[in-house]
């Protein structure tokens, strides 16, 4: 094979596919990127079998063909090239020669036939969603995916589409994040659990644009197409908990606060909350909100926050990190925190600009 491309194009497409190349525990052949040249385009694929990224650019194809070249080395090399044309030619499938400026680089790769095929999906159920919307949904809830390996199904995000809504939900059993957006017309019903790693890869690869990404969902795989990019990921297999049942419907005591000052206060309390599971205390009554934290033999801190509150006096404790992450994800100027009792879940919703995010946090026992 032989192609002519540019440093800019090549390094971009290599960087995209490189994210799917695992640095450990892989088949030797998977330390490579699959490079295919045909029909005026160059396709670069990386995968660790659970997840794969395929990126395409147009290039001058002198002679079609394919090869598999060491991913890391290739990426390191191309990054150092001077701007301008890069010529890549390959003999016998494995002997590559790259020319950039006055440099000539020879790389030995693997046989492209040894590279696992990118899955072709039966494009059954799909949803279309602008990439900027998808990215916003991921950003608004990826943080509360469970890190607990024993809670397998919680290590991903539930994606649900019905004719009117698209919903993404994550929970680690202590808190829950949900983002809801309007569906595009003709939306099909889908439901799947996307592994955290795939969410991370999507945020790395997609750019926030109005162009719709198409998400195809089969029984065990997700396949995302966005322009010249294709991503596949294994789906998590199992029953996602009934999230709706833990979203409080009858929390009557509303606390309204400015988001930024509340974040600042929580940040100040956090260092002294470090010990007991990050616990900060909320004392809330008609006078306002008093936030405090204490670590035995180290110190304590407290600060009052201006809030609107008209419910009964209550003392609650929260994991400060859970609150901070939710408040940051809300992205609104003000927040409404709906409370019921000191030991029942609190519901955080944005006030002002509503980006569809809902956050449920289970308090700690004070």
């Amino acid at each position: 094979m032989k192609i002519v491309s540019t440093k800019a194009d090549l390094s971009r497409v290599i960087a995209l596919a490189l994210g799917a190349v695992s640095t450990k525990n892989v088949m030797p052949v998977l330390t490579n990127l699959l490079i295919e040249a045909r029909d005026h385009s160059l396709t670069v694929t990386g995968t660790d079998l659970e997840l794969g990224v395929r990126a395409k650019i147009s290039a001058e194809v002198v002679q079609p063909g394919s090869t598999a070249l060491p991913a890391k080395k290739l990426s390191e090399l191309v990054r150092t090239f001077e701007e301008g044309d890069v010529e890549l030619s390959v003999k016998d499938g494995v002997k590559a020669e790259i020319r950039s400026g006055r440099a000539t680089i020879k790389l030995t790769g693997a046989q492209p036939e040894d590279y696992p095929a990118f899955p072709t999906l039966r494009k059954e159920r799909s949803i279309k969603i602008p990439s900027e919307t998808l990215l916003a949904m991921i950003r608004r809830c990826a943080f509360s995916v469970s890190q607990d390996e024993t809670r397998y199904i919680l290590q991903g995000a539930l994606l649900q589409g019905d004719p009117t809504k698209i919903r993404m939900v994550t929970t680690d059993g202590h808190r829950l994040s949900m983002v809801e957006k309007d569906a595009t017309a003709g939306q099909e019903a889908v439901s799947c659990v996307i592994p955290a790693k795939a969410l991370q890869e999507l945020t790395r690869i997609l750019e926030p644009k109005e162009d719709a990404a198409t998400l195809y969902v089969t029984e065990n795989q997700l396949f995302v197409e966005w322009g010249d990019l294709a991503i596949f990921s294994r789906l998590l297999d199992g029953q996602f908990p009934n999230y709706d049942q833990v979203i409080p419907k009858k929390n009557e005591h509303k606390l309204v606060a400015e988001t930024a000052p509340l974040i600042a206060v929580l940040n100040r309390m956090s260092p002294l909350a470090a010990d007991k599971g990050n616990s900060v205390k909320f004392l809330v009554n008609e006078d306002g909100l008093q936030v405090s934290a204490a670590t035995a033999e180290i110190g304590e801190a407290s600060e009052s926050v201006d809030v609107d509150y008209s419910g009964p006096s209550m003392t609650l404790a929260f994991n400060a990190r859970y609150l901070l992450e939710a408040l940051k994800a809300l992205g609104s100027e003000r927040v409404e925190i709906r409370l019921n009792t000191a030991l029942s879940p609190a519901l955080l919703t944005p006030l002002g600009s509503d980006d569809g995010g809902r956050y449920v946090i289970m308090p700690m026992r004070a």
Binding site: P28, G173, L176, R234, G277, M362
Partner: protein, 402 residues
């Protein structure tokens, strides 16, 4: 020739490509690929060795204990995985519960092998072959993993038998046929015959175990020394009187109760199960552990014994949680089988570190109140003994639904 009063029945159970099989179970997408579990290959420059290779990798020449760099070279499409001991140990614990359901005489060898003396199980389960079939299917059911089993009158012959036709093999050597079974096999299969001894024996013209058995012991003593010579001669005749020595190290925390009279009375079963659950939970709390998988053991009238498992999520050290899980299982048993029960037992398996701090659970009960009650009961038990306090009625299934 043999002073043993009666013949024994020994199983040697050997899990097939154990580490690799556990990995495939976790990541089904690896199925059928050449799998190499071992140290980090570091792109072919790693210095460690292969722990286990799947059959697909073995077909390409990869062997256990081979340098990982060699495996990397042999197997460009191989999947290289690090050794995940906790995962293998967890499966191993499940496998040992299967063994223990069959006989208390279990001698584990590492995580993936064990000798079982099933002489006394013969009356209840059947002969050695029946026990072997039971072990194989129960392990498959409990873990999804495949093993090979050798059945013989002693440990040595059972071990040779299990290894003969791996994977998924069941090889029975009927008592009295040990010698002819061993005769055609390579002397290298004898315990204690390493490369040096094998070379010496081959120099004597001894290639098979049969040839060795026909040699006078004095020839062997000259070549290998008195003690080794005698030992090999004994083994070559298919004799081995070492007992199966059970390992008492606990892999789980369990309690069981045998009823005074066989019963299917729901109330009495609930009560007993509730007590067992409280006992197990108390032991868990004492050790700061929680139960992630609960095992129910039940024995029918007539002594037929089974186990069923149920995962607990989140892991728990709270008696009523253990009771509820156990009772669900027991109820299914009573529904499916009309026989009366002679024994029920509960074991906490898949032990996890104890309940975490104070964070509330979204998808669960209000644990705080329950935890305080547990702590109060534990304090009383610690001072006055385990029977000093019981939960009211000891019928936790009737507690307020949470």
């Amino acid at each position: 020739m043999n002073a043993t009063p009666r013949s024994r029945t020994i199983l040697h159970v050997d899990m097939d490509q154990f580490y690799a099989a556990v990995e495939v179970k976790r990541r089904p997408e690896l199925k059928g690929l050449p799998l190499i579990v071992g140290s980090d290959p570091k792109g072919g420059r790693g210095r460690g060795v292969v722990s286990t290779a799947s059959y697909e990798a073995r077909a390409l020449g990869v062997r256990s204990a081979m340098p990982i760099s060699t495996a990397w070279r042999l197997c460009p499409r191989g999947v290289f995985l690090p050794v995940d001991m906790p995962a293998y140990a967890a499966e191993s614990a499940r496998i040992h519960r299967v063994f223990e359901a069959l006989t208390p005489l279990v001698e584990p060898i590492g995580l993936d092998e064990a000798f079982l003396d099933v002489t006394d199980s013969a009356l209840l389960v059947g002969d050695g072959e029946a026990c072997a079939r039971r072990v194989r299917s129960d392990i498959l059911e409990a873990t999804g993993l495949v093993c090979s089993v050798g059945v013989a009158a002693n440990k040595f012959v059972a071990k040779v038998a299990s290894d003969l036709r791996k994977p998924a093999a069941l090889v029975v050597v009927p008592p009295g046929t040990e010698r002819e079974f061993l005769a055609p096999l390579d002397v290298g299969r004898l315990w204690g015959v390493g490369r040096v001894a094998e070379a010496r024996l081959k120099a004597l013209g001894v290639r098979t175990i049969g040839e060795l058995a026909r040699r006078p012991e004095s020839d062997l003593a000259r070549a290998l020394g008195q003690a080794a010579g005698r030992r090999l001669a004994t083994l070559a005749r298919g004799e081995d009187d070492r007992a199966v020595v059970p390992d008492r190290a606990a892999v789980s925390l369990g309690r069981e109760t045998t009823f005074e009279t066989d019963t299917r009375d729901a109330e009495s079963l609930r009560r007993t199960l509730g007590e067992l659950a409280e006992d197990v939970a108390f032991r868990l709390r004492l050790r700061g552990l929680a139960c992630a998988t609960l095992q129910l053991k039940y024995r029918f009238e007539g002594f037929e014994t089974h186990t069923r498992q149920r995962p607990l999520s989140p892991a728990s050290d709270h008696g009523p949680d253990l009771f509820r899980a156990g009772w669900e299982e027991l109820r299914a048993v009573l529904k499916a089988d009309a026989r009366r029960l002679r024994l029920v037992g509960l074991s906490a398996m898949g032990l996890a570190p104890g309940a975490e701090a104070e964070q509330g659970e979204l998808f669960g009960a209000d644990r705080g109140r329950l935890r305080r009650a547990d702590a109060a009961m534990d304090a009383i038990r610690a001072r006055h003994g385990e029977d000093a306090i019981r939960r009211g009625g000891q019928i936790p299934g009737r507690e307020r639904p949470s």
